[in-house]
Every structure is written in structure tokens, then in C-alpha cells.
């Protein structure tokens, strides 16, 4: 049973008192340890899910574009830990990790990969368009930068209606070159929107390295130019990510307007399954792999607290069940093609 299926329960308490644990009470673990174990679990689930996607994609079972999150898991789980179920998340096309961390059921996400009717988007979206409105997870936006204005709008609605909650928007370093990023940053700062901008800087916009796409590669500094708090974070360290995200969320909820976090991270796999990954030095990939966020976090746990092998097995079993369910799930009949185009058609 994966904890990842449950959205995090609280915002305000410190990590030490975060979530309750279902783990057996053999060794008495501190609340903090339980919380960190939880994050490890979530990262392992994401990792297992993504690795299964590679297999399924290679076998031709799932198709389309697929963008894997392997290596960046700490960002999703760390940021999510700082959000409450009431907050909103707008994501990118590399969003499996965000969705799983947010608690979108793994069965629903896997079924979406299969294009099945039981998918979290009814099979209509696929890998790049995961949605779960119940969990305020607003997709899965595959236009680079396209989710940013939407996130600003969600935040605007909260601001106009006096709801004190946060909208978190994930995007990549590539999006910072888009006009929509700058339009949104300006709008959000101008209107003091409760918006958390999380830039996952994995150093490449597809195959173009950061320094070849940005005149100024200090992305946090550029966001700061709009007058919002902005800083860079070690995106491989889930604890650091969570701590930064909490600080930003606190600032937003205190009415200090949008915050920008540059998560310095790295994807271990190629941009997508189509990508031969010719633009990166193997040694560079290896260097980053040494900072794999999962063992990095596990090493922070008290000795014996984390049995990674056992935890991986559990995560794999969860994914196995999701695959079995997706295989068995029905597809939508073709007669329903026009469903969801408009409410009339639904």
C-alpha cells in the first residue's frame, strides 16, 4: 500500500510532525523519520512507475510522447510536502512524478498511459495530460509555459474570493525563455497573486543546454527582477526542497505575493523516449547519478530505518497491480469520441 496515494494532510506543522505513518511500530521512529520515510516511499514509487513506463513503451504497449521524471523525484515530493490538499498544482508534460506525489492514484495514472477509460483523464490525455481536479491537480500542460497563465488565473480567483491558499506551478528552465513566463511573473507580482513558481532547472531545454538558451542563466535572479522573492535550491535534496517550499508557501500565505524557486535538478534519462541523448556527456550524467535523490535522502535516515530493497519491492508491487488493472480496464467506445469536447457533447 503506497502512501503516495494519499495527499499530504497538513501544511503548517513542521516536517517533524507531518504525516501519520502506517508503518509497523517495531522501532520507535521519530515523526521526522516517518515523514522522511514517506518521502522516500513516494520517490521510490515514482521511480518504479517511470521504469515500468520505459519497459511498456519499449514493448509498444504505451505510445505517444513520454517524458520521464527519473532523477528529479525530490522536487515533486519535496514541494508537494509543503502543499495542502486545498492548494492547486499546475504541471508540465513531465508530470508523472507531480501527479503521483500529489496523490493521484497510481492505477489511474497508469491507466491513463494506456489510454483506458479508467485513466485519470479518461484516457483522453495520455502521459502529458494527467488531471485530477478532486486533488486540484490541473494537468499536464504540454505547451512549454502554457500552464503559467492558467496558474496565475487560479491564484487570481483565490485572491479575488479571499481564499487563503496557494497555486503551485511547475515548469522547466526552457519555459523561462517563453513570453508566457514573463507575462505571468509580471502579472502575478503586479497583482500579488498567491502563486508558487517552481522552476525545475534540469539544465536542458530538450537538448539545448541552459547556457545556450539563456543570456542570463541565473534564473532566480531573473524572476527576482519582477520584485518577487526568488532563490535557488538543491533540487536533488528532498529535505532542502521541502524546506524551501515551506518558506515560500508561508510567504505567499502571509500575503507577500508570488515566490519563485529554482530547483537545480537533473533528469537521468533522456528528454523523451525518442531522444538518443547525444547532447549530454555520459560523465556528466554519471556525476549527477551520484547525487541520486533517493539514496541521498535514505542516507539521512537513522541506520536501519530504511530498507530500500524492501521498499522498492513494495513500490514495484504497487506498480504491478496498476499495470494489471490498466491492462484489464475498458477503453472508451469510439461512439464516445465527442464526449468532453463541450458540456453539450458530454
Amino acid at each position: 500500500m503506497s502512501r503516495a496515494k494519499k495527499p499530504p494532510q497538513s501544511r503548517k506543522p513542521s516536517p517533524a510532525s507531518a504525516a501519520e505513518s502506517e508503518a509497523p511500530a517495531e522501532p520507535v521512529l521519530s515523526e521526522e523519520t516517518k515523514h522522511l520515510l514517506e518521502l522516500v516511499d513516494q520517490m521510490l514509487l515514482i521511480r518504479a512507475f517511470e521504469e515500468r513506463c520505459v519497459e511498456l513503451y519499449s514493448a509498444g504497449t504505451i505510445r505517444g510522447f513520454i517524458h520521464l521524471y527519473i532523477g528529479e523525484e525530490a522536487v515533486a515530493v519535496g514541494v508537494n510536502a509543503a502543499l495542502s490538499p486545498d492548494d492547486a498544482v499546475v504541471s508540465t508534460y513531465r508530470e508523472h512524478g507531480h501527479a503521483l506525489a500529489r496523490g493521484v492514484p497510481v492505477e489511474a495514472v497508469m491507466a491513463e498511459m494506456y489510454g483506458k477509460a479508467t485513466g485519470c483523464s479518461h484516457g483522453r490525455g495520455g502521459s502529458m495530460h494527467l488531471f485530477d481536479v478532486e486533488r486540484r491537480f490541473y494537468g499536464g500542460n504540454a505547451i512549454v509555459g502554457g500552464g503559467l497563465p492558467i496558474a496565475a488565473g487560479l491564484a487570481l480567483a483565490d485572491r479575488m474570493t479571499g481564499r487563503n491558499r496557494v497555486t503551485c506551478c511547475f515548469f522547466g528552465d526552457g519555459a523561462v525563455a517563453e513570453g508566457e513566463f514573463h507575462e505571468t511573473a509580471n502579472l502575478a507580482a503586479l497583482w500579488d497573486l498567491p502563486l508558487l513558481l517552481v522552476c525545475e532547472n534540469n539544465l536542458y531545454a530538450m537538448g539545448t543546454p541552459l547556457e545556450r538558451e539563456h543570456a542570463q542563466t541565473d534564473l532566480a535572479m531573473r524572476a527576482a527582477s519582477y520584485g518577487m522573492p526568488a532563490w535557488a535550491v538543491d533540487g536533488m535534496d528532498a529535505v532542502a526542497v521541502e524546506r524551501a517550499a515551506r518558506r515560500a508557501v508561508d510567504g505567499i500565505l502571509a500575503g507577500n505575493g508570488p515566490h519563485f524557486l529554482e530547483m537545480r535538478t537533473y533528469r537521468f534519462r533522456a528528454h523523451s523516449m525518442y531522444d538518443p541523448d547525444r547532447y549530454r556527456d555520459k560523465a556528466e550524467v554519471e556525476r549527477w547519478r551520484e547525487r541520486d535523490p533517493i539514496p541521498l535522502l535514505a542516507r539521512r535516515l537513522p541506520p536501519g530505518a530504511a530498507d530500500l530493497e524492501e521498499m522498492t519491492k513494495r513500490a514495484t508491487a504497487v506498480v504491478d497491480r496498476a499495470v494489471a488493472a490498466a491492462e484489464a480496464a475498458p477503453v472508451e467506445p469510439v461512439e464516445d469520441l465527442y464526449r468532453f469536447v463541450s458540456h453539450e457533447g458530454s
Binding site: 492547486a88 499546475v90 485513466g119 485519470c120 483523464s121 479518461h122 484516457g123 483522453r124 490525455g125 495530460h129 488531471f131 485530477d132 481536479v133 490541473y138 494537468g139 499536464g140 500542460n141 505547451i143 502554457g146 503559467l148 497563465p149 492558467i150 496558474a151 496565475a152 488565473g153 487560479l154 491564484a155 487570481l156 480567483a157 483565490d158 479575488m160 474570493t161 513570453g179 508566457e180 507575462e183 505571468t184 509580471n186 502579472l187 503586479l190 464526449r339 468532453f340 469536447v341 463541450s342 458540456h343 453539450e344 458530454s346
Partner: protein, 343 residues
């Protein structure tokens, strides 16, 4: 990103609105927005200079004084940003009215309109509704040249997932907004710039009203003139001229460009057996082409003459008056096309 608003200042003065039966297209849209703002707290208006300036074409003049800058919200010149924000706010349950100064500028927001507003419901498997209303000015006729004058309604009418409206009468200007806001899907309303000053008696509140059907504005026997929005007055004038010449023209006002009311179009053609489609947009692949195709599909065996199209010339709209006039459908063009159809 957008160029400055045409005309230095809004053209109407709110404080001197007399108690009169006469009204204008602009006033009717404003009245519709005011009514919506009063009726529903979730409704707000945003766009470039909709507040203190009163809107580039003076449509929202006076509203900021009444409803405040939060609900009559000036935006930076960031079409994609604020249209997307409108979409996001709608997703979050608000009922935004987003004003884009002209259809040409809307291209900067086309990503948001097409990739998000029109798509989110489907892409999310029915979870995400986008009840946003996007108003924009369209059309030529005011010598605003090639970046403020185009008619791209046909492009929008080709996008599944949105509703596209084109009011051509005072009544539609006044009463289309409320059902548009009530619609759970995105609605794009095109307001032809040359109509803002059109005046007439205040239309009564209609007993039944929808935003899906076309309306027969004038009945006739010999030819159906099918049009919408800014071309509608010209088409009505053409029908008048034709009547003087013994040709009885029926005028179909499309009102909704998406969905298209094929049944009303076909029924009219079944009565008259001849059709002239008038649209200010470009001919190639345009709205008129779509309507001609619908007629061929739905009313082929009723056709007694080839379908005629009167469209905008395939040029960027030029500045000088005589060339601009030549570039868009005029009454004489419509009359000539109808005569050709009638033979």
C-alpha cells in the same frame, strides 16, 4: 505587445445618457456587462485599459467607478498572460469576461484560447470546465489598417471546444452575454468595431433567447443572404435594394458561428433555392467556405444556382478609405451576387 488603442478617447459620455428609447451597440454591451456584474459576484471584467480608460472602444466606460478596480481589472499588455489568467480563474470557479482589444491581438493569446480554453475539458476527460467569456473587437471599416482590422472569426469557428458568437443586432449585443456567462464552456464573442456606434430603439428583453440558433431577420422567396455581425446591416440594406428591384431576399443572421445552425440555413435555402454567403473574412478556407460546404451537404437538392460568396478581399486590410472599402463586402457587392444567383 499590442499597439495603442485606436482613437484617443472613448466616444460616449456616460453621465449624459438621457432617458431615451434610443441606444447603441456599445451601450447595450455595457448594459449587459453591468447586469452580469450586478447579478453574480463571480463575474469580473479584465483586459487592457478596461478600467480608467473605459476600454479601447469605450465599451466599459464607467464600470470601474461602479464596480471598482478589482472587478474591472486593467491588465498589462500581455494577451497570453491575462487571457490565460482568465481561463485559470474560470477553472477556479469565477466567471471572467476577458476583453481583447482586437482580434489581431488575440493571436498573441491563441495558445491559451486553443491549447487551454478549448482543450482542457477534453484533455482532462471532462473534469476541467472553463466558463470564460472572451470578447474581442473584429473587422474593418474604420481605417485602422492591417493590424487592427481583420476578421478572423472563421478561424475561431473552426476550434472545437469553444462557442463563437457574433452579435449583429442591438438585442444580441444586449442579451448574448448572460447565456454566454452561464455556459460552462468558453465563449468567444466577436464585436464588429463598426457596429459600436450603431443606434436604434432599445430592444425589449426577449422572452426566449438562445445563443445557438441563427435568426431569419427578413423573409424572402428568391435568395438567402447569409451573414453575421458587422456585415448584417449591409446585408439588410442589400435586401432592401433587391426588393426595390423585385428580388425577394431572405436574410439569415448566423449569430452563432460555432456551433453553426445548419438547420436554419438549410431551411432557408430550401425556401429560396439560392444562397449568398457574406463574410468579411478572407474567402480561402474561411467561414463562408464552411457555410457553402454545409449548404452543399444539407441543401444540395434544393439548390437552383451555385452558392455565391461575398468575402473580404484577400489582402491585408489597407489604410486608405477607398481601398478599405474595396477590400470588404459592400452593399453593391451583395446585391450583385444575389442578382447572379437569381439569374
Amino acid at each position: 505587445m499590442a499597439a495603442s488603442a485606436p482613437g484617443a478617447a472613448p466616444e460616449t459620455e456616460p453621465e449624459t445618457e438621457p432617458e431615451t428609447e434610443q441606444t447603441s451597440f456599445r451601450e447595450e454591451i455595457r448594459a449587459a456587462m453591468r447586469e452580469a456584474l450586478l447579478a453574480d459576484d463571480r463575474v469580473f471584467l479584465m483586459g487592457e485599459d478596461v478600467g480608467g480608460y473605459g476600454g479601447a472602444f469605450g465599451v466599459s466606460l464607467g464600470l470601474v467607478e461602479e464596480f471598482g478596480p478589482d472587478r474591472i481589472r486593467d491588465t498589462p499588455l500581455s494577451e497570453s498572460g491575462f487571457v490565460g489568467a482568465g481561463i485559470g480563474a474560470a477553472v477556479a470557479g469565477m466567471r471572467p469576461i476577458v476583453e481583447i482589444m482586437t482580434v489581431n491581438f488575440s493571436l498573441l493569446a491563441l495558445d491559451q484560447i486553443l491549447n487551454n480554453a478549448a482543450t482542457l475539458l477534453h484533455m482532462s476527460g471532462g473534469q476541467v470546465s472553463v466558463p470564460v467569456v472572451i470578447r474581442m473587437t473584429t473587422g474593418a471599416g474604420r481605417q485602422l489598417a492591417a493590424q487592427h482590422s481583420h476578421s478572423l472569426e472563421g478561424w475561431y469557428a473552426g476550434i472545437p471546444g469553444i462557442r463563437v458568437l457574433s452579435p449583429g443586432t442591438l438585442q444580441d449585443a444586449r442579451y448574448m452575454l448572460a447565456p454566454a456567462l452561464a455556459d460552462p464552456d468558453p465563449v468567444v464573442i466577436f464585436e464588429h468595431g463598426s457596429l459600436y456606434n450603431a443606434t436604434g430603439p432599445t430592444a425589449p428583453r426577449p422572452e426566449s433567447f438562445d445563443i445557438v440558433s441563427a435568426a431569419v431577420r427578413r423573409t424572402g422567396r428568391d435568395v438567402s443572404l447569409i451573414s453575421h455581425g458587422g456585415s448584417l446591416p449591409k446585408v439588410l440594406a442589400a435586401a432592401e435594394a433587391l426588393a426595390a428591384d423585385g428580388v425577394s431576399a431572405e436574410v439569415v443572421d448566423l449569430r452563432s458561428l460555432r456551433p453553426l445552425d445548419g438547420a436554419t440555413i438549410a431551411a432557408s435555402v430550401a425556401r429560396t433555392h439560392r444562397a449568398v454567403v457574406v463574410d468579411e473574412g478572407w474567402r480561402t478556407g474561411g467561414l463562408a467556405a464552411e457555410i457553402a460546404a454545409r449548404i452543399a451537404e444539407l441543401a444540395f437538392y434544393d439548390l437552383d444556382a451555385p452558392v455565391e460568396r461575398v468575402c473580404g478581399a484577400e489582402v491585408p486590410v489597407p489604410y486608405p478609405k477607398h481601398l478599405e472599402d474595396a477590400a470588404i463586402p459592400q452593399v453593391a457587392d451583395i446585391v450583385a451576387a444575389a442578382r447572379r444567383a437569381v439569374g
